[in-house]
């Protein structure tokens, strides 16, 4: 119906002209006192022929309309159409060029960053090995910082892989403790240096997930807990099967920042005080959670601590 009214609009000049011509003929016949049948007969005849012609024309119009929509332009019928088509083709080509260039640039960038991440891992590995044989306060501090550098490198790789089509997921049942323990180990030096207490008993839960990606999330959350807690403890537990909580007694997050901590680049009050914050860690966590079908949320009170909640329960599969 919409198509038909569009067609009427498109041909409105023709219809008005036809109606005007018919009106002039009819009125002049009537003026010369001809019998009405002499007026009506040709009128009906022309209307019928006109309607048939219009039917054909409308069918053609619909066909052209469909072809244009399928992005295959019909041969131009006049100068104007030709001009339009020329412009469309030019735009199309430019768009394709831009797209190709952007995707080539993106591939180059991803390749470079991947190479960079591997390059930087070699000096990190060398420093780590050599620092380990030193048992001093400053060596320990350097080790802690080195751990942070490693975490940032990991973040770069994660950021790049997140949207890449080459990203590999290996979804199956994994033991959560086997991801929590290595994550804790990564930050053990900072725990010890800051004299933070760790309260963790194996949670004995298996979740359907991808171990590499979920490990990144758990590391990120523990890293934040350690970073923003100067005294007290970090507690890792499940308050019900499948809901992993990582709770610290750190500086907390203010109520106005809390709803936005998972946004890209949002650093909030804590971030503004701590220049190292990029506001990207939790954003990545949220994105990965969305991809894996997990849920991540936070509860916090300024000065009392933060509790990050990871819901790893599988959604019930609906059978159709």
């Amino acid at each position: 119906m919409k198509l038909f009214s569009g067609y009427l609009k498109y041909r409105v000049k023709l219809f008005v002209t036809c109606a005007a011509v018919m009106g002039i003929f009819a009125s002049s016949y009537l003026l010369f006192d001809m019998p009405p049948i002499a007026v009506l007969y040709p009128l009906i005849l022309t209307v019928v022929i006109g309607l048939v012609a219009m039917g054909f024309d409308f069918a053609l119009f619909v066909k052209r309309h469909e072809r244009i929509l399928s992005e295959e332009l019909p041969a131009p019928k006049n100068q104007l159409e030709e001009d339009y088509q020329y412009i469309i083709e030019k735009l199309n080509e430019e768009a394709k060029m831009a797209e190709r260039k952007a995707s080539a640039d993106y591939t180059d960038m991803v390749e470079y960053y991947t190479v960079w991440a591997h390059q930087i891992k070699t000096p990190i590995a060398a420093m780590r090995l050599n620092l380990q044989s030193e048992d001093t306060e400053s060596a320990r501090k350097l080790m802690g910082d080195l751990g942070r550098i490693e975490a940032y490198v990991e973040m770069v790789l994660t950021f790049l892989r997140l949207d890449s089509i080459n990203t590999d997921y290996l979804i199956k049942e994994y033991d959560i403790d086997e991801m929590v323990r290595p994550a804790i180990r990564k930050f053990s030096r900072e725990f010890i240096l800051k004299k933070l207490k760790l309260e963790y008993e194996p949670v004995n839960y298996k979740a359907v997930t991808d171990s590499k990606w979920l490990s990144f999330i758990i590391e990120q959350v523990i890293s934040n807990a350690v970073k923003y807690t100067s005294e007290g403890s970090v507690r890792i537990y499940m308050n019900e099967p499948g809901v992993l909580c990582i709770e610290d007694t750190g500086i907390g997050i203010s109520a106005e920042d809390l709803p936005r901590i998972f946004e890209n680049g949002y650093t909030g009050f804590n971030g503004r005080e701590d220049k190292r914050a990029s506001g990207i860690g939790l954003y990545l966590c949220k994105r990965i959670c969305d991809n894996l079908g997990h849920k991540i949320s936070a509860e916090s009170k300024v000065g009392e601590g933060t509790k990050m909640v990871l819901d790893l329960r599988a959604k019930p599969v609906e059978v159709e």
């Binding site: 780590r128 090995l129 380990q132 053990s188």
Partner: protein, 226 residues
């Protein structure tokens, strides 16, 4: 003494590996000519090879294949690539293990020892640490003194291991805690004190009095005049 051959182009890492394996009385040889890896291997006849994947001239995969043509010496790959493809490749080329960079000394030592034990050490004689006539066996976490075998609890063993590895050096409490955390025993300072106390009691009942000395405010030391 086991001979270890290290094929790694980064000097810092090669030095680090040499240092931590030397503590276990292993003879470490670092590659000198990257074009002549096979020649050096044939000459040295190492017990184990540690190899990077990206190397000058020829990559690690190439050398691994070459080595496998006539030798079954254990090979450990170390690489900064962590994707599954590279790990699978390495294993398919005939490697025995794969350690992603960066890694901890303890992981490297554990893997090297495990491979050596499997390949050569059938009667479990090596990988022991000695101090003051006591011998720590890394195979079964026990201590032998004057012919008697003393069973050690997990944390006790780990503490003693670190102290004996750093004989005649003061080992800080932090370092001991770090070592315990590596074995997923997340102790705090108080627990460490309790653990050391318990270890001392175990040692004393075996006749090893004052085996471990306390350095106040710093840590512990195991002195051995030999």
């Amino acid at each position: 003494m086991y001979k270890i051959y290290v094929v790694e182009d980064d000097k810092g890492i090669a030095d680090g590996i040499s240092q931590c394996l030397a503590a276990w009385e292993m003879e470490v040889h670092v590659v000198s000519d990257f074009r002549n890896v096979m020649g050096e291997i044939n000459e040295l006849e190492p017990h184990l090879i540690i190899m990077d994947i990206t190397l000058p001239y020829m990559g690690g995969y190439h050398w691994c294949q070459e080595i496998r043509k006539n030798s079954s010496v254990p090979i450990i790959f170390i690489s900064s690539a962590t994707d599954n493809m590279n790990i699978i490749m390495a294993m398919n080329m005939g490697a025995d293990d794969y350690i992603p960079k960066p890694f901890d000394q303890s992981i490297l030592i554990a893997k090297v020892q495990a491979l050596l034990r499997r390949a050569y050490d059938f009667n479990q004689g090596s990988f022991t640490l000695k101090a003051k006539g006591a011998v720590l066996n890394t195979n079964d976490n026990s201590l032998t003194y004057e012919g008697r075998k003393i069973e050690l609890a997990r944390n006790e063993y780990k503490i003693l291991l670190v102290l004996m590895q750093n004989k005649n050096k003061v080992v800080s409490r932090e370092k001991l805690m770090e070592a315990l955390w590596e074995t997923d025993s997340f102790v705090d300072e108080n627990t460490l004190t309790v653990n050391v106390g318990r270890l001392r009691k175990t040692l004393e009942s075996a006749g090893l009095k004052d085996f471990i000395k306390t350095k106040f405010g710093v840590g512990y030391i195991l002195e051995d005049e030999e």
